[in-house]
Each structure stands twice: as structure tokens, then as C-alpha cells.
């Protein structure tokens, strides 16, 4: 009697709005959330070098300037964050609760969950399976690079990543204006958002978005800098933060900063100036070929293909662009999870992506280099080729199917 009751309870389905969800899925969701929180709690006291060298002095400077909105008037010797994240740091600087490190980590952890919810919604939208969606949610929260980025390193890359995921989610749901606003928000936080910009160009060519919707990028960016402008900062400097970042002067000492890309194969330590420039031109040329082909070909742009293409663009860019840091592939890590849960046969993609990506984190965080990074660079290259051939097959298959249907 009780046995059956327990069994029935587990298999019971509850209706939440339009979604019917099993109790097992709810329990799974709760367990994964608890597990993810505990993992992050276990890492709370890790202090990475970046915190000591950059974040702590920045927060101190913001505090000295008054913190909150007033703190945004602070003059830094060097800072490469834009106003939105500096605003968060400025409020952290005057927070009476907890210490700066923990608060920074809490912000990033919060966005880990935003990204995970975004992934959950995307997978549900595609698969209409609550179990797959909850598993994808858990996979993202347990992804080593996602955990290490915020909870361990106190970095904020997950913020822009979560907004990109939301952007893709809304575009998949045909709410393209909201999608582009989220993309604009992501851009306001980090320049790395542009790694996926070629996908948006293809989405425009394929009539998924309108050209005027691209205006949301400068609009949201401008809205983002207003607090600093009001606080008294020079508007031109605020608008050109990314130009300073893009010249790569801060990172000139190595062609790859622990990211397993092409420079780990040919050497990260010679022809620093020459290869830095040549690498940019080669990457642009590679993008030109891809954009040309993807724009010219006739095919049906499905939501999964959109994710795969986005992932592919970022993979190619971080593989060939010089001065890439170990964290710059976080967008690939997240998109690979979405992709694998939409196409389960490709489960090896996020596994290999995360292993390769996390290798760079290990070199930085643990100063550990058991397997040389060039091994991961080859894995990454093979993944790029695999994804490329998969996209090629899909595009041509798609087209053939369309022709037959016609």
C-alpha cells in the first residue's frame, strides 16, 4: 500500500501553467540545485591571483570614492570593465554584509543560475521534455568551467554568457526584439560578446532578425554607461573602453594566455607583435569564408542549428585569435551543453569542450600542467572540424529536404 503510494508519488505529474512536470523532475531539480550550491559553497574561500592583483584594489578604489553610484567617479590606474559591472562592484564595496570576495562570487553564482534557467528553457522549448531540460540545467550548473569561473575565481564571464543564452532563447521563441535587447545587455558587460556576433549577421541574412534591431547594442551600451557619466566620468572614455581592450596591449606578452588554441601548437612566445596582427587578419579571413558560405547557401535555420553555428563561430574565433585567455570559451562551454541536450548523439562535444577548456583553468588556478596544452589544442581542432562537417551536412541536408518538399 505504502509502496504503491510512494511509487505513485514519484510518477505523479503536476501541471504548472502550460507545463506538465513529473515529481521526479522536481526532485531532480531540487537535488541538482542543492548540489550546485554546495559545490560553490565548498569553493567559497579560494582566492585567485586576479582577485589580489585586480579586483581587490578596484573595489578599494571604488570604496574610497564613496561606493554606490558615487563610487563610479573613481579614477583607476587601469580598469577594463564597463560601467554595469563596475556599478555592481561599487555597491559591493559599501555592502555591510559579508566580504568583497564572497559578494563578488555570490553575484556570479546568481548568474550561473540565470544561465542554467536559460538553458533549461531553451532545451524545453526544443525537446518538450522536462527531464531533458532539468538535466541540461544540472549539466550547466555542474560544468567545471562554470563552477570555477565564478565560485572559485570570482570572475564574471557568466554574466554576459547568461544574457547571450537569454538572447538566443528569445530569438528561438521569435521574440527577436527582446532577444536583441539581451544581446545588447551582454555586450554592455563584456566585449567577448562579439565572438558570437557573426551568428547574428547570419540570423539577419536568414530573416530571423531585422537590421534595425542591431541598434539595441549601442543603445543598451549607452544606457549602461550613463551612471558613470552622471558620476562625472568622461563620456568618450566610457564609450571607448572596448577599443582599449581590443588593441591587446595588456596581453601582448603571450599569444595565448593558457587557452588551448593554435598558438599552443606553433608557440606562444615568439613573433609576439607579428603573429598578434597576422592572427587577427587570419581570423577575420576565416570568418569571411564562413559568413560567405552560410549567407549564400539556402537552408532552413532551425534553433538547434542556430546554437550549433553560434558555438562554431566562437570556437573558431577563440582558436585563431591571439591573446585569448582560458576563460574566453565559456560561451562555447554553455552552448555545447544546450547543443548536446538538443542533439544527444553529440554528447561527446560538451565533454571534450569542457575537458579542453578546464585544462586552461587548471594551469591558471592550480599552476598545474600535467597534460601539455597542445594536446587539448588538437582536441579543440578536431572538434571544430567535427562541428564544421556536421553543420555542412545539416545545411545541405536541409536544402535537399526543402527541394524535395517543393
Amino acid at each position: 500500500m505504502i509502496d504503491q503510494l510512494v511509487r505513485d508519488f514519484f510518477y505523479k505529474k503536476i501541471k504548472l501553467g502550460n507545463v506538465v512536470i513529473a515529481v521526479t523532475d522536481i526532485l531532480l531539480f531540487a537535488l541538482l540545485t542543492a548540489g550546485a550550491l554546495y559545490m560553490r559553497y565548498a569553493l567559497r574561500n579560494v582566492v585567485a591571483g586576479d582577485y589580489k592583483v585586480f579586483f581587490e584594489p578596484w573595489v578599494a578604489t571604488l570604496r574610497e570614492a564613496g561606493g554606490g553610484f558615487a563610487g563610479l567617479a573613481a579614477e583607476f590606474e587601469y580598469v577594463d570593465y564597463t560601467t554595469p559591472y563596475l556599478t555592481i562592484l561599487s555597491f559591493i564595496s559599501i555592502s555591510p554584509f559579508l566580504n568583497t570576495l564572497l559578494l563578488m562570487k555570490i553575484v556570479s553564482i546568481g548568474f550561473d543560475f540565470v544561465a542554467a534557467i536559460g538553458v533549461l528553457c531553451f532545451v524545453y522549448h526544443e525537446k518538450k521534455s522536462t527531464t531533458a531540460a532539468v538535466l541540461a540545467y544540472g549539466a550547466l550548473l555542474f560544468a567545471p568551467t562554470v563552477v570555477a569561473n565564478g565560485a572559485m575565481w570570482a570572475q564574471c564571464d557568466i554574466i554576459f554568457t547568461s544574457f547571450v543564452i537569454l538572447s538566443l532563447l528569445f530569438i528561438a521563441r521569435n521574440k527577436t526584439t527582446t532577444g536583441m535587447i539581451f544581446y545588447g545587455v551582454a555586450f554592455a558587460f563584456k566585449l567577448q560578446t562579439l565572438f558570437i556576433a557573426p551568428l547574428y549577421v547570419i540570423l539577419w541574412v536568414k530573416k530571423k532578425i531585422k537590421i534595425q534591431q542591431f541598434l539595441w547594442l549601442p543603445i543598451v551600451y549607452f544606457i549602461g554607461v550613463i551612471p558613470s557619466w552622471i558620476a562625472g566620468k568622461n563620456l568618450w572614455e566610457l564609450l571607448t573602453v572596448y577599443l582599449f581592450q581590443a588593441n591587446g596591449e595588456m596581453d601582448i606578452y603571450a599569444l595565448s594566455h593558457k587557452f588551448p588554441n593554435i598558438y599552443q601548437i606553433i608557440g606562444t612566445d615568439v613573433f609576439l607583435r607579428e603573429y598578434a596582427d597576422a592572427g587577427i587578419w587570419l581570423t577575420l579571413a576565416a570568418l569571411m569564408f564562413l559568413l560567405y558560405y552560410f549567407a549564400k547557401k539556402e537552408y532552413n535555420m532551425t534553433n538547434v542549428l542556430m546554437v550549433e553555428m553560434g558555438m562554431f563561430f566562437v570556437m573558431v574565433i577563440v582558436y585563431f585569435l591571439p591573446h585569448m585567455h582560458e576563460r574566453y570559451a565559456i560561451l562555447v562551454d554553455v552552448l555545447a551543453i544546450v547543443f548536446a541536450f538538443c542533439r544527444p548523439k553529440k554528447l561527446y562535444v560538451p565533454v571534450l569542450v569542457l575537458v579542453s577548456s578546464f585544462a586552461g583553468y587548471t594551469v591558471y588556478l592550480a599552476q598545474n600542467n600535467v597534460v601539455p596544452l597542445y594536446v587539448y589544442a588538437w582536441i579543440w581542432l578536431l572538434l571544430i572540424l567535427d562541428i564544421a562537417s556536421d553543420i555542412y551536412r545539416q545545411i545541405n541536408q536541409n536544402y535537399k529536404t526543402a527541394e524535395i518538399t517543393c
Partner: protein
């Protein structure tokens, strides 16, 4: 506005009998610009610090640059001849012009390998177009410019046995080679001095079985028994090539464009893999042919990318004075590529 812009991008312009899209023009302009900028970033590099060489370095780099553009055009014409596909033709132009090894060879290294490449590719193109006499003259010129052109010799011989080339035309090869030797021995031109300087680059490295070329000698040690292995290795390679040639002569295959390119790729990979004394530039011809092969058979496109990376890693080992990865690994990768191409060759029955 949206649709107007999209239509503009996809619009086709008719120039005489040729129809070309705005997107196509953008690709050609973009890749040309990227290729020029790529070269200007590395133009200042000096690989051979010698007075005579320095005097001519800029001239060599400029000439190489012009010929690299010409090579890209020849390669795209070749792709058109093989595939009749406009997208592939335009992509081939950009790919060749932007190949890191091609750009580095001239603009960074200051080598003139592109000269023999242009002749070799023009020769192959003429052969495909059935202009056989011209093809052999161009091939002889290619041999005059570089010994690397000999990698293609087995293909010409095989095509002779297939009745595609006359024996008389093949005489251009020994004529060209003899002419080269006579020139080297008798005439004192500045360019020959420069070529001699380029050979001096190797002096510091000593006598090796492989100079950064990821070949079989990376497995056994490039500095072990160099004199003995050089003699034995040369005979071994010639013997292997002969055996393969005999096998292919007996094999029932179609003497079509696909097999022609396939055989060319195979021998241009196979010979430098076994021949002693090869250097980092030995794979350049194979790279060109692999691009063509990839254009014909897209499923093998990944081989062109991997070969290009392996080849550039060899260049990089020269530039930085040592490789990041063990060279034996690259040799294994190259062996894998040869195995795959060899498999294609085996299954190319009529």
C-alpha cells in the same frame, strides 16, 4: 530596408558571359585585403642575417607577394576547371592567398618557393586542359626553379603510361635540369648568390636527415647515421615510389581529373615523408594539391586544414629554433594523412 540590403548582398551582376554576385565580390576583396595585411604584418621579419641576402630581401619578398597572388588566381582557375563551381573557385582563391605557409614563405621567410609552385600548378592545369606540350615545358621550368618539383615526377610518368603524355615531351625535364646545373656552374648572377646564402641557413644545424620536416626520420632521430641513412633512405624512397608506380600502372583506374589530383597529392606527401634531407618547406606543393583535392571532395576538407597546421608547425620550429610539440607527433599526423590519401588511391578502381 532589410530586404533591400539582403537583395543587394545576393544580387548578381553580369559581366560579359560571367555572372557574379556582390557577395562574391566582397569575398574576393575581403580575402585579398586580409592577405595583403597579413603579409605586411610579417614583412619586417629577417630569417637570414647575411649582407648579400639583406640587399635582395625586400625584392624577393615583393616578387614573392606578386607571384603568390598569381598562384591564388591559377589555383582558382584550376578549381573552376575541376569543379565548375563558382563558390569553390572563389574560396580556393582566398584560401591559397591566405594559407599561412604561403604567406610566411615569401613575406616572412623571404624564400622564393612560390616561383616553382606557380610553374608546377600551371603545368598541372595545362595537363588537365590537355595542353600537354606546354604542361611539360612549364614543369621543366618548375624543376629548374626547385628540386621539390621532382615530387610530381611519378605522376607525369604514370600519365605517360596512360597515354596522356608523349615520351618526347618528357625530355623537357632532363633538359631543364641540365640547364639549371649549367647555369649554377657557369653564370655568376646575384640571385644565385642569394640562393647560396639561403642554403647557408642550414650550416648551424649540421648535417641532418630532416630539417624540421615532420617525416619518418623524426621517428628514428634526424641526427642518427645521417650520411649512411641519407644514401639508404634515398634508395629506399626511390624503390618505394617505383613499386607504387608499377602497382598503379597495373591497376585499372580512370585517368580522369580526380585521380590525377589524387596521385599528385599522394606523391607530394609520400616522397618528402621518406626522402632524407627534407626541410620545413617540403610540404608546400602537397598543401596546394590538398586544397584542390579538398575542393573536389569536400569530405576530405579537414585533411587540408590539418596538413596546413602541420606544415606551419614545421615553419614555426624553424623560426623559433625548436618545436613546441615533439616532431614525431606531427610525423604521425602526416602518416595518418598519407594513409587516408593512400586509401582513396587504393579504392579508386575504374
Amino acid at each position: 530596408m532589410d530586404q533591400w540590403l539582403r537583395n543587394l548582398l545576393l544580387k548578381k551582376i553580369k559581366i560579359k558571359s560571367c555572372e557574379i554576385g556582390i557577395l562574391d565580390i566582397l569575398l574576393v576583396c575581403g580575402t585579398t585585403a586580409a592577405g595583403i595585411l597579413l603579409r605586411t604584418t610579417v614583412m619586417e621579419t629577417t630569417s637570414i642575417a647575411h649582407d648579400v641576402y639583406m640587399e635582395y630581401m625586400l625584392a624577393i619578398k615583393v616578387v614573392s607577394f606578386v607571384l603568390e597572388a598569381l598562384l591564388a588566381v591559377v589555383m582558382s582557375a584550376f578549381t573552376w576547371q575541376l569543379t565548375k563551381n563558382k563558390t569553390k573557385t572563389l574560396c580556393c582563391y582566398g584560401l591559397v592567398f591566405l594559407l599561412p605557409t604561403v604567406a610566411a614563405n615569401g613575406a616572412m621567410f623571404g624564400r622564393g618557393d612560390v616561383i616553382y609552385l606557380v610553374f608546377a600548378m600551371c603545368s598541372l592545369l595545362c595537363l588537365v586542359k590537355e595542353k600537354r606540350h606546354t604542361a611539360l615545358i612549364l614543369y621543366a621550368l618548375s624543376v629548374v626553379c626547385s628540386n621539390y618539383a621532382f615530387f610530381l615526377l611519378p605522376v607525369y610518368i604514370l600519365w605517360f603510361f596512360k597515354g596522356k603524355i608523349k615520351l618526347l615531351y618528357l625530355l623537357w625535364i632532363p633538359i631543364g635540369y641540365t640547364l639549371k646545373q649549367i647555369l649554377l656552374q657557369t653564370v655568376s648572377l646575384p640571385i644565385l648568390q642569394v640562393l647560396a646564402m639561403q642554403k647557408d641557413v642550414r650550416k648551424d644545424e649540421g648535417f641532418l636527415l630532416s630539417y624540421h620536416c615532420p617525416n619518418v626520420y623524426q621517428f628514428i632521430g634526424a641526427d642518427k647515421f645521417p650520411i649512411e641513412y641519407t644514401q639508404a633512405g634515398t634508395v629506399f624512397t626511390i624503390g618505394l615510389v617505383l613499386m607504387i608506380c608499377i602497382y598503379l600502372m597495373k591497376k585499372n583506374y580512370e585517368a580522369d581529373h580526380g585521380n590525377f589530383i589524387l596521385f599528385s597529392v599522394f606523391f607530394c606527401l609520400f616522397v618528402p615523408f621518406f626522402m632524407p634531407g627534407m626541410d620545413e618547406r617540403s610540404l608546400l606543393l602537397a598543401e596546394m594539391l590538398m586544397v584542390l583535392y579538398a575542393m573536389m571532395y569536400i569530405r576530405r576538407f579537414y585533411l587540408a586544414i590539418i596538413l596546413s597546421i602541420v606544415s606551419y608547425a614545421a615553419y614555426s620550429a624553424f623560426f623559433r629554433g625548436g618545436a613546441v610539440m615533439p616532431f614525431s607527433f606531427f610525423a604521425f599526423v602526416l602518416l595518418g594523412i598519407i594513409a587516408l590519401i593512400g586509401y582513396d588511391l587504393m579504392v579508386s578502381e575504374k
